[in-house]
Each structure stands twice: as C-alpha cells, then as structure tokens.
Amino acid sequence: MRHVFLPLILLILVALEGVALDILPSSLLDSNLMITPHWVLMFLVLIAIFYDRQNSYYAIMYAFIFGLLIDIAYTGILGVYMFTYAVVIYVILELRKMLHSNIYSALLFGIISITIAELIINVIYYVVGIMNTTWTDYFIYRLIPSVLANAIFILILYPIFAKRLEKWKNTQIK
C-alpha cells in the first residue's frame, strides 16, 4: 500500500505548483522577478537520496512521468520537463554516493538540481524561441531567485519526508 503514497504526493505537488504563484504577493509577480517553482523536482531529489536503493531507479521513472504531466498541464510543449527532470535525477543518483545523506547534502543536491534543470529548460526554450530575454537578465531575475526559493522549499520538505522515505524504502517490494 505504501508505494501508492509517492505518486499521490507527486500528483498533489504538480497541482500545487499551479497555485504557487498565487501564494506570492502580487507585487512580486508584477515586478521583473520570475520565481519559478520546481517543487516536484525537489521531492524527486529527496526520493533519489532517501528512497532509491543502490540499483533501483524509481526516482528517474517518477521524474519521467511527472515531468510529462507538468508539460501537458502547464506548458503544452511536451518533453521539455520530462527530459530535463529525468536527466537531472540521473545526475543526482550518480552524485549521491559521494556524500552521506543528511540535510546539508539534501540542500546541496537540491541547489545543484535546480540549477541544472533551470539551465537545460531554458536552453531548450531559447532554441525553440520561447525565451526572449538576454542571458544576463535571465541569471539575475530568474535563476538566482528560483534557486533560493526552491532551496527554502526543500528545507521545509526535508523534516517531513526524510525519515518517512527511508522507512518506506525498507518496505519496498523487491
């Protein structure tokens, strides 16, 4: 029964991202800052660190599925989030062996993953012609604020889910 929780939480996070911008005060929305929530990715990073075993790839599978859901629900350009999230989670799965899993490593991996994801997504959108600002503007107004905002989010998620994910890991079906 436990393995139903992960897709359910991820689905709720996908839906929550849609109202994420309502939570911000509208003066922030009006300004040039473009804070982008990547809450699904943050949870996927936690899954990769705490839930996946040495030779399992649940996180990549979920990244693939829920990235596609974000594409369908919010952008209409299929494949961008799907591909990006899967690649980023793969990198995190490779990197996690180097550090012990605790809150600092989770934060570090979170920041790394947002940075890579943001860059890949925007390179794709730049090539396709949807993004139309200069890269310096992008770094100042979107990348840095987004990394900070999502780092805060992973710090909120960590105490709620870190222990639980490890518990669920031990009850995984082999």
Partner: protein, 287 residues
Amino acid sequence: MSLFRKKRLFIILIGIIVLVVLIGYSLGNRSKLSIGEQFVSDVIGTVQNVISAPVKFVTNIVGNIGDVRDTYEENEVLREKLAQYKGLIYEVQEIKEENEELRKLLDKADSIRSYNPIHATVTARSPERWIEQVTINKGKLDGVKENMAVITADGMIGKIQRASQQTSTVQLLTGFDEFNRISATISREKGNDIFGLIEAYDRESNSLILRIIEDSDQDLKKGELVVSSGMGGVFPAGLPIGKVKEVIPDQYGLTRTALVEPAANLYDINNVVVVDRVLSGEEGDEE
C-alpha cells in the same frame, strides 16, 4: 563495463531524439489536444479544483486585511461615481431598446457585438514563467472552444488556447505573439474610427503594441480606450483591451504604433468570462 557505457550513451541519444520529436509535434500547427493530453489535463484539473479553493481562501483573507484599510476612502469615491452612472444607465437602456427596435426593422438579429457568456474560475497558473497561461475550470462540455476570447470585468485578458473536456487553458495577452493578432479599434465620432492590430506584448514596457493601419494622421491621445473591433472574425466587437499609454512612430515614419496598457490586471485573475461569439466568422481563420 564498456557495454554498459555504450548502453547508457544509447539511452541518452534516444532520449534526445524523443525530445526533439515531441517538441516538434507540440509546436507544430495543431489545434486539437490528443485524447491522452485531454485525460491528463482533466485529472490534474480535478485535483486543482480541490486544492485551489482553500489556497485562494487563505490568500484572499490576507489580501482583505490590506483592503479594509482603504475601504472608507474608496467608498466615498465610488459613491460619487455611482451617482454619475445612474444617469448613464438610463441613457444606455434607451439606446439599447432603440437599437433592438431598429435591428428588428432591418431583420438583422445578431451583430458581431453579441455573445454568450460562459462563466469560469481560474484554478491554476502555469509555473513556467515564459509561458503565460492560466487554467480555468470549464471545458468542451460547457461549450468552450479554441480561440474564444476571455474577459474579466475590466477587459480582455486572453484567448482559449487549448480546451479539454472539463478544463481549458487560456493564453494571456502577455503571451501573445505574431500568430495571435487582435484587430482593435479606437472609437471616434462620425465613423472616423481608428483601426489597428494588436501585434505583440512588449515585456520591457509592459504594454501591448498596437500598429495603426489606417488614418495614421489622426491624433491619438494618451488614455484613449482601445476595444476589439470584431473584424478578425473570432472575437466579438467592443471588448475593452486597454488604454493608450504612448504613441511612437516606426522607423520609417509611415505607420505609427501605440503602446497600450491592458485594462485588466493580468496577474490577479480569479473569475473570468469565456466569450462565445454568436455570429461565427470564417472557420479556421487565425485572428
């Protein structure tokens, strides 16, 4: 080990090919959503319906606390305005009746002004900031179709981009590009109306760009109201779009463009009306 590395490279290559194919497919000229996409949109839409109500409730309370402070002053101003409007309402009523009578005389019941409203609530906004779209809780089952105009009480905010069964996505004016032109007009007396096309949204000045195609020697003033003209065949006439902020000549001095500030607040949208035009234009014609 080398076999494993080869396999990995292979997977990444296939991934990139799939990515390119999918992007090509979704950017191609498609007007309908595939069944799978419709299903996914509806499922996420249902979850969003459940979630958005409490979130909006809480954010509204926070907003209301701020509003309470300004209420008294606003009330005074509004009272004054209301008194002015009373006279206007009477006048409009008279004109409407007269208009109807005249139309009956002419045997011309529908005009490009009339439309059926479909009321909807915004349930989500795209977190991807390059893509300016919101999701509403009405879909094909309620009569929403692609390319219908979407308005709030203040004015136009965008058009329906994709419709699934129970939800649809609205492309906001801020996300309009050269493929989504709106034919617009500025009303003048004696048929001297100024016509133009809303061509794009300019992020730097936060305004829509209106290229004036006729009567370029007529003077435009700051603050004049720009409305849709209904000539594009998709949107009805008379939907307020925005106010003229600035007029600038183009580089050759032949035509002039006006920067138009959208009338509706495009960041704080809750309730919208989808506009179903009564008279249909030419099918498949891009506005």
